[in-house]
Amino acid sequence: MIILPESWEDVVVRLLRMSETRLPDDVSWALEAAAAWEGGDIARSQLGAILDNSSKAEFVSRPMCQDTGLPVFFVKGRIPVDIEDSIAAGVRKATKDIPLRPNAVDPLSRENSGDNVGSGVLVHYRPMDVPYTEITVLPKGAGSENMSRLAMLTPSDGEDIIKDFVVRTVLQSGGRPCPPTIVGVGIGGTADACMALAKEALLMPLDSRNPDERLRKMEEDLFIKLNSSGLGPMGLGGDTTVLGVRIKMASCHTASMPVAVNLNCWAARRATARMHIDGSVRYTQGAFE
């Protein structure tokens, strides 16, 4: 029997603490770059307040935002059969220890479970034949999640109509999702798979290059279009409406053209742990090579 230096429960607590209190480097860099080139006074003051808040949160190890979100987990590689119980236990512990705001409620009675677990944790799985297990957490606040949209376009709708749908979704959401946002886009799959792609796209670091050249070009076009809109930080006007656009794609039915948008607020929290079969654990807020 291998004695693990850290239990999965402890790993989950650490992931939540990391993600809630410290911005990933790529997001910090994008915010700093935006603050440097932003033209308007109000926009600059908003970005300044965001950067000031982020460094304070990290320094005092407190959640950067009071909406600590619903934690969404992604597990890939070797999947332990009891991983969901460990994740739930970790979430309960982190809720008390960090502390996190209890956000999980019964949708109809609106009764709060108090533990951020409620009827069960949200986990996406991808089994892979590799010598490790990887867990990523994406704590998702409601302000940005509430602006999600899915469109079942028609196959004859081309790239321009896809882009138009993304632009409309972002701009019509105004200041509500806490811009500058990161725009996750899913293209293809089925209705459910398409939204999952949009969410997974939010895990792609902003400084990584989309391997699909067509998607890379679309990301760039959308980035320029959205940042020339004038919506700006918090919807108060300015040159920084989005920090990045990330797109993921999958095959779809010949008669379908699903497109999904899932936004992340500037507090784009994420952290990943990889546990090897020898029990050693590594952490990153970017991506492993």
Binding site: I42, I50, N53, D67, L100, G143, K225, G237, A267
Partner: protein
């Protein structure tokens, strides 16, 4: 940059102009969806509800740690648009003077603010640690049964901000202006 007392007088509220940055000192209260609903329900039932009278209402569900009293861990603004259906009545019937939130509010809410001499102040969404620094004390809590995020918290604040006057008592709204600009720039 302006320093303003809270709760604010009608004259103070009317003196603020869209685009200005202010910091508040005094008392503010938090209220989200459920607190608004309960206050308005009581008011409809003929009960006198005075907790929002003249108050600065902060759209915020803070993280509090209970020990010797309450410690504010993080307290940034929540999306104000969720209160669009409730705020006009809260302003007219319950006497809300100023609102702090994020993302802006409807024309109907702005009309009620103009009518009563009130303002909407935009706090930076997510700046929960910076804003919590401006909260010096938790002086009370109403409707505890609504839970941590939805209770009404009474907060003593000092130089709480920065807050941008986004909808003023003279009918000017930064959101409306930005929306117009976005439409011109993007055709949306």
């Amino acid at each position: 940059m302006k320093r303003i007392d809270s709760p604010m007088s009608e004259a103070d509220a009317r003196s603020l102009r869209a685009g200005e940055t202010v910091f508040l000192t005094g008392t503010i209260i938090t209220a989200r969806d459920k607190a608004h609903l309960r206050a308005l329900k009581k008011s409809s039932a003929g009960e006198k509800v005075d907790l929002m009278d003249g108050a600065t209402v902060y759209h915020c569900g803070p993280i509090m740690r209970e020990g010797d009293g309450f410690e504010v861990i993080a307290a940034g603004p929540t999306t104000s648009a969720r209160m669009n259906m409730l705020a006009p009545r809260a302003i007219r019937e319950l006497g809300v003077r100023a609102i702090i939130g994020k993302g802006g509010m409807s024309k109907e809410t702005h009309d009620a603010l103009v009518e009563n001499g009130g303002v909407y102040l935009a706090a930076t969404g997510g700046a929960a640690v910076t804003l919590a620094e401006g909260i010096k004390d938790v002086t009370g809590r109403e409707w505890e049964d609504l839970g941590m995020a939805e209770s009404v918290w009474f907060l003593k604040v000092k130089d709480f901000g920065p807050l941008v006057v986004a909808m003023d008592a003279h009918g000017r709204s930064l959101y409306e202006e930005v929306e117009r600009r976005v439409r011109e720039n993007s055709g949306i």
